[in-house]
């Protein structure tokens, strides 16, 4: 079974409307790649191009070494799980799981064995005789995963698989998916999501998409610690994006000199300083910024402060404060130079 996915300048357009603009991306065998982006960014289109439900206007799609661009969906041998489960309502759970095997004319004894295996793997053995409508959303999604895994695909496509579940169930299923991937180390997984937590938790690498284009691709740590642009910085993890002017050995933010690595950026240029809210501390320290508190949000384990500094709002996530500052208080903030990244200025929206 071929594993791994390769997009070779794949473009998809409806009429004159380009929804995927020459995507180049490789998912290694056994790798989990998250396609992360807002709605309309082209991530689902990319997934559907792999499944065979949309035809690229140009470019090729490969599964392993095989060019599948012209193959119909039923000859691609891909497992797919979608947000709304798409189980067959008139079939019992076991028959849903057996559907793909029967379509491949698998021998009856083997069907039974592989259905049992897939149900076991997803913890749904006890529900084999039920109909989908008798199951909860989380259980239905497990059946959908079992159904996709029963055909032993080399590639598993997951299209927002957890979006229809409530928050508590979602984190449980996330752990389940991680476990499944450990049990099936050879399966390549393409995971489409708009939720950065899912992407950071599950993915070996994340491809960030925006407006039909691939914006950045890298490991979660790379994208989080050293984002390439403002969009990636704000979409993966959230960030303070502060307009600065580059000086020598540092930058100037709202008239305050800030120490940061300026390697590769010409002095005098405009740039954007990216600082994660949790890297900002309260009180005295290096790179001190003074401002006025405009909002305080208590989030249980943390307090988030919004502080106006020279016309810009700086967000700070602080471990729960015993005595948080109030609205209108003047406070000092600081952050370590190594926690800040300099990005090219305003080429993308924030």
């Amino acid at each position: 079974m071929s594993s791994g996915i390769r997009f070779d300048s794949v473009s998809v357009a409806y009429g004159g409307n380009v929804v995927l603009d020459s995507l180049d991306l490789t998912v290694e065998p056994g790798e989990v790649m998250a396609l992360l982006g807002p709605s309309g960014s082209g991530k689902t289109t990319a997934l559907r191009a792999v499944a065979g439900f949309v035809r690229p206007v140009s470019g090729r799609v490969f599964l392993g070494e095989r060019d599948v661009t012209d193959l119909p969906p039923y000859r691609r041998g891909i497992g797919m799980v979608v947000q709304q489960y798409a189980l067959f309502p008139h079939l019992r759970v076991a028959d849903n799981v057996a559907f793909g095997l029967r379509a491949r004319r698998t021998a009856r004894a083997e069907v039974r064995q592989r259905v049992a295996e897939a149900l076991e793997m997803t913890g749904m053995t006890a529900y084999a005789r039920r109909h989908p409508r008798e199951l909860s959303g989380g259980q239905q999604q497990r059946v959908a995963i079992a159904r996709a895994l029963a055909i032993r695909p080399g590639v598993l496509l997951l299209d927002e698989p957890l979006s229809a579940l409530d928050a508590r169930l979602r984190s449980g299923m996330l752990a389940e998916l991680a476990r499944l991937h450990r049990e099936l180390p050879d399966v390549s997984i393409l995971y489409v999501t708009h939720d950065q937590v899912e992407a950071l938790t599950l993915a070996d690498r994340i491809a960030v998409m925006d407006r039909a284009r691939l914006r950045a691709c890298g490991t979660p740590a790379e994208l989080y610690r050293a984002p390439a642009d403002e969009f990636t910085a704000s979409f993966v993890g959230g960030a303070n994006l502060l307009p600065v002017t580059v000086g020598s050995g540092g930058v100037d933010f709202a008239g305050v000199p800030v120490k940061v690595d300026t390697a590769g950026v010409a002095a005098g240029a405009r740039a954007t300083l990216c600082v994660r809210p949790h890297a900002v501390g309260l009180g005295e320290g290096p790179n001190r910024l003074v401002g006025t508190v405009t909002e305080v949000q208590w989030r249980g384990a943390t307090h988030r402060l919004y502080v106006a500094v020279g016309g810009q709002v700086v967000m700070a996530d602080l471990r729960e404060l015993r005595d948080p500052p109030g609205f209108g208080d003047d406070v000092a903030l600081h952050f370590a130079p190594e926690d800040a990244v300099l990005l090219p200025a305003g080429v993308s929206r924030g």
């Binding site: 499944a51 065979g52 439900f53 119909p72 969906p73 039923y74 000859r75 691609r76 041998g77 891909i78 497992g79 797919m80 979608v82 709304q84 798409a86 189980l87 067959f88 309502p89 008139h90 559907f99 793909g100 379509a103 491949r104 959908a144 159904r147 996709a148 055909i151």
Partner: protein, 287 residues
């Protein structure tokens, strides 16, 4: 007396504070009189004649009450032939409509082609055409002086079958198109990516979800075919006798009113029975 007891309850306002549910439950009571004209009309123009038919079937011209007319009609070969012809033509037409309607609805709903919506609309308009119009068209095409040529089969049961399938197929397509619009495309895609080709998807995914609509459309067509008069009169008049035709010939041509009424009663009973079945099925289909 009853009126005096009722009035304070309905108008006295005592039930008002109990809430909207109560108020809305009593509201239609005020307009009950509105049911009188339609019920009266129904009684006068439908139930009364129907009663007369039943009565006539039990009262031979010779006077008295007896089932003699029934015995006579049931014993006659012409009645048994007509009953057999009616049932097999109706069943065969229904089957033909189901197969043809399913295929056509499938194409309209799932094969994207320009004008699919217009075709679906036309199927709706088609339902409003009189049935003999189709027959007339067939006569123009295949009749004794037809454009395409003279095909004697039009006067046989097969001609009736052809005309009924042609005319009643949209009655099956209508509920099917509604059912198909409810089929989740994600299910079809899931089946496809699991390795199923079109025939398997139709048989295992689409057909099971369309079964209630098929049953509803099929039983409706069955009832309509059993009672069809115009099509039979125009096509098979010479060779094909169905129950409605038998009623016509007994009453108008032979002036055997009790006999005609017996056949009519049998026809009505079959129709009402099937209509009951249709309601049962269509309620389960949610139509």
């Amino acid at each position: 007396m009853a009126e005096a007891v009722c009035r304070p309850r309905a108008g006295g306002g005592r039930s008002r504070p109990r809430g909207a549910g109560r108020a809305s439950a009593t509201a239609p009571r005020r307009y009950r009189w509105a049911a009188v004209p339609p019920v009266a009309l129904l009684g006068l123009f439908f139930l009364y004649p129907l009663g007369l038919v039943v009565q006539q079937s039990l009262h031979p011209d010779t006077g008295g009450t007896s089932f003699r007319a029934y015995a006579g009609v049931f014993a006659s070969a012409s009645f048994r032939d007509a009953l057999g012809t009616t049932v097999w033509i109706a069943l065969a037409s229904t089957l033909g409509c189901l197969v043809l309607g399913f295929l056509l609805a499938l194409v309209i709903a799932f094969v994207p082609f320009p004008g699919a919506r217009a075709v679906a609309r036309f199927a709706d308009v088609y339902l409003s055409f009189p049935s003999f119009l189709i027959t007339l068209a067939l006569l123009f095409l295949y009749g004794t002086t037809g454009i395409i040529g003279s095909f004697p089969f039009l006067a046989t049961p097969w001609g009736v079958l052809l005309a009924e399938v042609t005319y009643f197929t949209p009655f099956v397509m209508r509920p099917l198109l509604a059912a198909f619009s409810q089929v989740d495309t994600a299910q079809i895609e899931a089946a496809s990516s699991l390795g199923a080709r079109a025939p398997r998807i139709v048989a295992r995914v689409i057909l099971p979800e369309a079964l209630p609509a098929l049953a509803a459309g099929g039983s409706l067509v069955l009832v309509l075919c059993l009672n069809e008069f115009g099509i039979v009169l125009f096509t098979g008049a010479k060779g094909v006798t169905t129950l409605p035709m038998l009623v016509y010939s007994k009453a108008i041509l032979e002036s055997d009113y009790p006999g005609a009424c017996v056949v009519a009663v049998v026809n009505v009973l079959i129709s009402v029975g099937l209509y009951g079945l249709y309601r049962l099925v269509s309620r389960r289909a949610g139509a």
